[in-house]
């Protein structure tokens, strides 16, 4: 079996894998990082979004062998293990941006990426448009939009701010 080496949440990992292993399977099954979820099989729901070399990608549509040598950040690595929550995580809690929690890791990773690309001052329209790749069945998106706007502002504040990578 071919070997893959990655940096996942700051830690180097190396493993032999079946070539057909998707990044999401590698994270969930090899590394037991089960915060990254699978909600569809057509690359649409966004429950599997992680950051690959600093950019949001769908880990269900990425062969782990394709990204050998890359750096991956998952929801588990967004904030320091013993530190405070990432401002975007905190914003989701404060604004009730989640209900069942299943889409939440992907939403938060997408939201941080959105801020990285679009800045800290995000209006309602921009956020809704940029959420095109993330489905939520519980919240009607209302409080997710609110959470992201607040999280984006908080990320500018510096407190606990860090690049996701």
């Amino acid at each position: 079996m071919p070997t893959v080496s990655l940096t996942v949440n700051g830690k180097a990992v190396t493993a032999d894998v079946d070539p057909r292993t998707l990044l999401v399977q590698f994270l969930r099954e090899h590394l037991r990082l089960t915060g990254t979820h699978v909600g569809c099989d057509t690359s649409q729901c966004g429950a599997c979004v992680v950051h690959l070399d600093g950019k949001a990608v769908k880990s269900c549509t990425t062969l782990v062998l394709s990204i050998n040598g890359s750096s991956v950040t998952t929801i588990e690595g967004l904030a320091d293990a013993n530190g405070p929550l990432h401002p975007m995580q905190e914003a989701f809690r404060q604004n009730h941006g989640l209900q069942c929690g299943y889409c939440t890791p992907g939403m938060i990773m997408a939201a941080v990426d959105m801020v990285n690309r679009k800045g800290n001052d995000l209006d309602d329209h921009t956020i809704r448009k940029e959420l095109d790749g993330n489905l939520c069945r519980c919240t009607g998106y209302h409080n997710i939009v609110k959470s992201i706007a607040a999280g984006a502002r908080a990320m500018a504040g510096g407190a606990g701010q860090q690049a996701a990578e």
């Binding site: 070539p19 057909r20 690359s43 690959l52 990608v57 769908k58 394709s66 050998n68 997408a110 959105m114």
Partner: protein
């Protein structure tokens, strides 16, 4: 997925050799067309040749009166390219409606054009701009390249390396999104470059991307949405699915063409 052997060449030459050596091999760029099909077990390549790490396939470059875009350029790189925004703004705007931000970080323009999905956006842009598709072997005009849904002029062992887009400031893309997939229910790309006017339609035709000569002729006389008044395309040969029937699709072609012309005209030269 069925199992396969995995190769990740770092030069075009290696990729071509691997393609020649491996029977039933598929090229993988961003993977957003191929992997979903493989996951559904609707494709079973024996070998995957991942061309995402070949430096020769990347980059956006101004070359005389055209812009050359590497096949491996991702959708988000196209959208953010200042060269494209300045010289072919209508093309730079196309990827904004492809997939979603995460997909755009991985999906590539070359992959989209090689796949020629009948509902994809880039084929309309390539045909609507009169682009040239450059492979490891030859140059192919867009008019000759797209040959029906999921069918192109590409031969086995041929890899798209670049696309050459003639500069056309007056161009625009209008898309009516499929409410589920986000692909084009109908998409219309229009461009005007000197006396050359092109109208290319994706999503609507059962046989993939096509041009609309009647619209082009009318717009050649006067590049204005009003020139299309009274003109329509036939519903014959239009796609039919649960979201849009042939008649509605044909109607949308006219609506979106008018809107695209208006958008193109709204640009400052």
């Amino acid at each position: 997925m069925y199992n396969f052997t995995f190769h990740q060449p770092t030069t075009l030459r290696q990729a071509v050799n691997l393609l020649a050596k491996n029977e039933d091999a598929k090229l993988l760029a961003g993977g957003h067309s191929l992997l979903p099909v493989m996951k559904q077990r609707l494709a079973s390549p024996a070998a995957i040749i991942d061309i995402s790490r070949i430096p020769e396939l990347s980059g956006v470059e101004l070359k005389g009166r055209s812009v050359v875009v590497g096949a491996g350029t991702t959708h988000s790189e196209v959208a953010n390219s200042q060269v494209l925004k300045d010289s072919i703004p209508g093309l730079a705007e196309v990827p904004a409606s492809i997939g979603d931000p995460h997909v755009r970080h991985r999906g590539t323009i070359g992959g989209s054009i090689a796949n020629n999905d009948p509902n994809a956006d880039y084929p309309a842009a390539a045909l609507g701009l009169g682009a040239t598709i450059i492979t490891n072997k030859r140059r192919i005009a867009a008019d000759d390249f797209f040959q029906g849904m999921f069918t192109t002029a590409l031969e086995p062992n041929e890899i798209i390396t670049k696309m050459q887009f003639p500069i056309a400031k007056k161009c625009a893309y209008q898309k009516f999104k499929h409410p589920a997939s986000g692909f084009a229910l109908v998409g219309v790309f229009v461009s005007k470059r000197g006396s050359d006017v092109r109208v290319a339609v994706t999503g609507a035709g059962a046989n993939g991307v096509f041009r609309v000569p009647e619209f082009e002729a009318a717009l050649k006389k006067r590049f204005n949405a009003k020139s299309l008044d009274g003109l329509s395309v036939s519903a014959d040969g239009m796609n039919n699915d649960i979201h849009a029937g042939p008649e509605y699709r044909a109607h949308l072609v006219g609506v979106l063409a008018r809107r695209a012309v208006a958008d193109a005209n709204a640009r400052k030269d």
